[in-house]
């Protein structure tokens, strides 16, 4: 999609010392990491650890207090509008328009990303079929079961072929079967070269990621593949690792 200075080791997301302060409170404290093209990157952390704030900065919803980051090789400080063209976003709050039908939602968001009517029409039919939503294409999204909505929202988020898609707790409240289907969709999308940046509270899901980072108190405490991390911290599961790292925070709260 974009051809700006294609470097051999180009990262889809490259973050250097990114910081966000709200008054005296530092929500995100000098985090650094990067993701490769087509990678599934799990962004973990307890509630309030700063995940959402970091993600909002990367999506151009929040301006960083300091630090650098490029997303799809555009600077989030200076070129956030260009970043926005190349990313997809699906938030924890279900974010399609509930009072529009599936088809209308796709047409609306497709239109915003500059797809032609013809493209939208063709891709919509194909998508509806793939999601088995053909019979419900003209049902208001608010009337669809949650699992279907989430799958639809994901499809809309990647509809315009973004280089990176940000998923903020995409499977919250969804049954295990649908969650598996959802992750199949994520795998299929990653295979096509789209970077998946996903936050989740389900530790079994974090095992599906190529690499994960765990945020504690605004800092990244651990970063690596699930296998590496488990070996490094001598734990059997990601669940155990998460409890071990995130515990100090939990103790402070209660």
């Amino acid at each position: 999609m974009q051809t700006r200075q294609p470097m051999p080791n180009e990262y889809s997301i490259d973050v250097q010392n990114l910081t966000k302060k709200f008054g005296a409170f530092t929500a995100v404290n000098e985090i650094s990491f990067n993701t490769k093209k087509g990678e599934i990157f799990g962004f973990l952390g307890a509630n309030g650890a700063g995940k959402s704030t970091a993600m909002k900065m990367l999506c151009g919803l929040l301006v960083p207090s300091s630090g650098q980051a490029t997303v799809a090789s555009f600077d989030i400080n200076k070129e956030s509008e260009k970043v926005k063209k190349r990313i997809g976003y699906m938030s924890q709050k279900f974010s399609l328009y509930q009072d529009l039908t599936a088809r209308e939602n796709i047409r609306f968001f497709g239109g915003i990303y500059g797809l032609s009517n013809k493209q939208i029409k063709e891709k919509t039919d194909e998508l509806m079929e793939r999601l088995h939503l053909t019979d419900f294409a003209n049902t208001q999204v608010g009337d669809l079961p949650l699992g279907w909505k989430q799958k639809l929202a994901f499809s809309v988020a990647v509809f315009h072929g973004p280089e990176i898609v940000f998923l903020d707790e995409p499977t919250g409240g969804v049954d295990p079967v649908t969650r598996r289907e959802f992750w199949e969709m994520i795998y299929a999308t990653a295979k096509l070269g789209t970077t998946i940046f996903v936050t989740t509270h389900y530790m079994d899901e974090s095992e599906y990621c190529d690499r994960v980072s765990i945020m504690v108190d605004g800092r990244i405490e651990a970063l690596g593949s699930p296998k590496e991390l488990k070996a490094k911290y001598h734990v059997k599961s990601m669940d155990e690792l998460f409890l071990q790292l995130a515990r100090p925070e939990t103790v402070k709260i209660f």
């Binding site: 151009g60 919803l61 926005k84 938030s91 974010s95 399609l96 990303y113």
Partner: protein
């Protein structure tokens, strides 16, 4: 929702226009006659014949009358004192007492002047019928000059012709201001605004897309209201309807801008509702619909200069009733344009994609 948006304001227009009436009729009068003479009987008949008064009680006890007013059974007490006729014959002058419930000052003022008129008539008939040189001190001196009124622009003094154009403005304001301010805030509440903010949509497209539907709804609403005004109330439409629509379109841009501004400074629909109400109440009460702007104290008149509702009501009345053309309301257009520029640039400045 869409049918409701159109039907409710029309119901409002019908109900309000029929109900709002400044004329005061059927004033409940307690007639206290302590004289029981021919003259007091004559005065009684004159009050009874008047369409403004209903004599709903009659007695010779003032105490009873006062009690009745205390209970709210009468609005006005007329006391004919003992020796009324005798004094008139002997001295050519006497006093009668008129007591009014002045809680509603306007009503009290009007009913007192109605009463004065009737007493003046009575005075005149005494002179004519009895050749008396009488003067009841409750009346001003009998005057030789009689006035003949001619009412321009609304010859039948039809209150609806005065009210309907004004009420129309309120309806358009409610649709434009309320709905548009709710609309963006609602997206903040639902979280869809974040979804919009991560897209590359241009700010002006978003704002345009958010306001255009309400502009159209407002215009249709205005058109329907005018139609009702013509069909149901037979409001005269002397001036150019095109000028009216042009002004409605301009006016809506002010109101929509205000709605947008409100939505940028609020986080929930509740907050937006509260602020919208604040403005709406001020706009309505200082808009010249219920109290003529000329009757307000000087400082309040100055405030109304900032009130877009005032300008629209004026234009509506000027065009519909007086037949004003574009040139006559050009200054109103200019003021609206300044409002549009100020409010909308402030709103667009305040509205930032992301935060």
């Amino acid at each position: 929702m869409l049918p409701i948006i159109f039907v409710l304001p029309m119901i409002q227009l019908l109900v309000l226009s029929f109900a709002v009436d400044y004329e005061i009729k059927h004033i409940k009068l307690f007639f206290v006659d302590q004289d029981k003479s021919q003259f007091s009987g004559l005065l009684y008949n004159q009050f009874e014949a008047s369409q403004y008064f209903i004599i709903n009680d009659f007695s010779n006890s003032l105490a009873e009358a006062k009690e009745s007013m205390q209970r709210g059974d009468c609005d006005q007490i007329l006391v004919i004192p003992h020796g009324f006729e005798q004094d008139l014959y002997r001295d050519g002058t006497t006093d009668i007492q008129v007591i009014m419930n002045a809680i509603d000052g306007t009503k009290a003022g009007l009913s007192s002047s109605y009463a004065t008129n009737i007493i003046m008539d009575f005075n005149r008939s005494l002179i004519v019928d009895f050749g008396m040189q009488s003067s009841l001190t409750a009346t001003p001196e009998y005057q030789q000059i009689e006035m003949d009124y001619s009412y321009w622009y609304n010859p039948e003094l039809n209150y609806q012709a005065y009210m309907v154009p004004g009420i129309l403005v309120l309806l358009v304001t409610m649709i434009g201001g309320f709905l548009s301010s709710m609309n963006i805030v609602r997206e903040k509440e639902l979280g869809t605004i974040d979804q919009i903010h991560v897209t590359p949509i241009k700010k002006h497209y978003f704002i345009f897309g958010k306001t255009l539907p309400f502009w159209m709804v407002g215009m249709v609403e205005f058109g329907l209201g005018l139609l009702l005004a013509k069909l149901v109330f037979d409001i005269p439409m002397v001036g150019s309807i095109f000028t009216l629509f042009a002004f409605a379109g301009t006016y809506l841009l002010v109101v929509l801008g205000l709605g947008l501004l409100i939505s940028t400074i609020t986080e929930t629909q509740q907050q937006a509702m509260f602020i919208s109400w604040f403005f709406l109440v001020i706009f309505i009460l200082l808009g010249g619909l219920f109290t003529a702007v000329e009757n307000m104290p000087e400082w309040a008149q100055q405030i109304t200069r900032l009130n877009p509702v005032r300008y629209f009501i004026e234009v509506n009345r000027m065009v519909l009733l007086k037949g004003a053309g574009f040139k006559d309301v050009a200054s109103h257009f200019i003021v609206m344009s300044i409002f549009i520029l100020l409010i909308n640039s402030l709103a667009i400045f305040r509205y930032k994609k992301g935060s």
